[in-house]
Amino acid sequence: MNMIEALTAARPGSGKTRAAAPARRRLLDQDWRRLACAGAVLAVGQVFIALTGMPVTFDRRLLIDPILSLGYLALLWLPPVVGNWVGREQVLEGMAAYAKGGRDVVAGAMAGLLGNLGLTLLVLGITHFDVRDPLVHWSPQLLGILEFDQSVWLGALVWPAIGAATGALGGAMHWMGDKTARTMVLALSTVFAAAVLESVIVDLSQGFHIEAVSDWLYGPQRGLTLAATAVIVAVAVAASAGFSWARAASGRTAPQASAQPDAAGAGSLPAQTAWRRIPARKLLGWAFAPAAIIVLPLFLGRLTNELLANVGLFILLALGLNIIVGLAGILDLGYVAFFAVGGYSVAVLTSPGSPRFDPEIPWFGALFAAMLLAGLAGLLIGAPVIRMRGDYLAVVTLGFGEIIRILLLSDWLSGTFNGAQGITNIPGVEVFGLATVRGFEPRSVLYLVLFFCAIAIYVSWRLENSRIGRAWMAVREDESVAEAMGVDTVSAKIMAFVTGAVLGSFSGAILSAKVGSVFPHSFAIIVSIVILVVVIFGGMGNIAGVVAGAVVLIGVLGGPNQPGLLQEFAEYKILIYGALLVWMMLQRPEGLIPSARRARELQANDVNQDAWLRAQPAGRATDDAGGTSDRGRP
């Protein structure tokens, strides 16, 4: 009934009034089922977060000096998200949308209130029952946080109130209009970023000798000061306003530009002038970006350099796996094997601590050997699995990944690899007598990593646009058709394994020299999984996507054995990885940066089609305008 009423209210009778303001619903005209569902999801989510122990673990970490810790934030972020989701509506074409208003605020508030009742129940539950045996975090510390170190009843009552308030805020984002909502989100996320990235910002400001800034931003016990928070919010709001003003200004000038007469006829399409402008900007970017990347590490502190070096190691790994998974479409779950081969080859050949191979050779020589051995490993692993497809192949590669680790760990080969004790005392890298790369100088490691990343990017880029790259893509698309079209799929797949293996061995070789020791447990299966997640998260088959994925995941969250920016999250890294992956698969399965080439093609299609149509002689253009029109011809 509601639906019909609303529809008739939205379009009362004649078509003339269609432009009238959309209907507004009463405050309590709610979709109760959806509300209850959202409340239940929120309740489960909040209790889950509380019981994972995040609030307790993160409570030590202040974000805004006296008032907000990361622990409380863990419980505060979900209600506004759910409150916003409740108010979200799919607007179908041809149907009138409802006006956003107080109803959405009420919906958000109610969802938040309902959901946080879960925390109330948790507070009461912890005070009356003890199930600490299975649930480790069902603890007095959690209770203390949930009741704000006051009384049980205060906690039980305040959480629903907080839920209602923050949920209402989330719902109100529909009401306040896009611009205001964007500004708010920008301000909040800037504050969050500034607070969470404290260690890096301090490190950076030391590198640039502007310690005054970080001293002013952050209080003595870490966390932003209140004044700094206010200033950051103000700056974010101003920036957002300035940005939208600039956009409005450029929007005003654009029609003037296109109003100029099409003097050169069909040649001077607005689209073409726009295309022509891009190369200059791109050229500048091409010149500037490498220069910045080369100069920047000089200004970065130890911590940031170390972090970026770790990111670089994973960029190398992810680029290698991207060739196997992203280009050739072979799901390899044992990629860590090549990482291990690279690492151990260098360790055995260069370290005086290795049980065998006494004449130690310099790192670059060892790298060459590592490349050969990794290529051989790629061949050995690739050859037996190459005839398999899909799931079977994935399972077998998984097995090979573990086999390598267990061989390294085994007593049988402990004469060479030293078993569980691993190989220590691996020297640094002597760069032709010019410099030495050592683990305790992160900057030198970063430069080494950057050099190899550049090689890997170049290799990926060149191979993608070549005969073998096209063969890989064809195998990915449809293996049997590729074979019927004359592609030697067996050698193409083995080539993918070998290339990926060599790139992965670079990373292992650098890791050995960086850390100075290798152990079998550094090459556990989780490393394979994390690399795969980086590739999928970033955007399979796309170099920029893979790099972005490594920067975001490894840089921010950290690798399997490497700390990231958010060291606080270390315990929950894998949980967050999993959640991110699920969210990504649901919302954006093509990855963070989908294959840019195709995205551009899809967007540019209309522009190109118009340009092409105008360039055709009139008769041909109408005759053969393309697939859609020739189907309809009489």
Partner: protein
Amino acid sequence: MSARPMLEIAGLHVEFGGLHALNKLDFTVEEGEIVAVIGPNGAGKTTFFNVISGMVEPTGGTLAFEGQSLLGLDPNKITARGIARTFQNVRLFNNMTVLENVMVSQHCRTRQRVFDALLQTRRFRTEEALVRDRGKEVLGFFGTRLTGYRFDQPASVLSYANRRRLEIARAMATDPKLILLDEPVAGMNPVESAELTQLIGKLRDEMGYTIVLIEHDMSVVRNISDRVVVLDHGEAIARGTYAEVSANPQVIEAYLGQTTDRN
């Protein structure tokens, strides 16, 4: 006049777990011919193509192309020998561009190595240019439908008829002598199908390809085929010109079922 036919098939036998998909099939194709293979659904027509292109291993019989046996060869080796095919259910490389689709199928005609691509050698650059030009040339065979802005579109955005055309172009790009077309006009409207029929004729007359096609559309078969072979239950039940075959009572029976007044 070559002494032997281009494609020579004798006693070809394919069995799928007791089911005789093809049974003692004899079949020859002379150079420059257009041969149509027709027959009711399940007659074994596509299996026949799969055997020729190496995707299905025959259980018996011989299969020779230009006097050399094709038995035991991988599909890509058979393509390299000069046999290309299209698929009944269009199977393009959907996420690759139109041009890439016809570039990748020149794989077996090109020789560049990985290091050529890495070092951007002269050999790499000239060969890439050649492959690209050849791809554009092949696409140009279909007028302007697959050219211009379409070069860089992913194959998945093409219309159905254009996808069928691209499949033919992809087969042409492998530089074959013999093209196997599996229902080239299926799903096209009469205008499109008449136009494609004409193009298939041009493929033979201007490009010099020999063509074997499976087709259900009898107007196409009538218009372009030199010879017709009718398959039913894996056996060739009739062969000859379209006129001969269409008057053959066995063929009529295979298509329409046994008439009741026959004894």
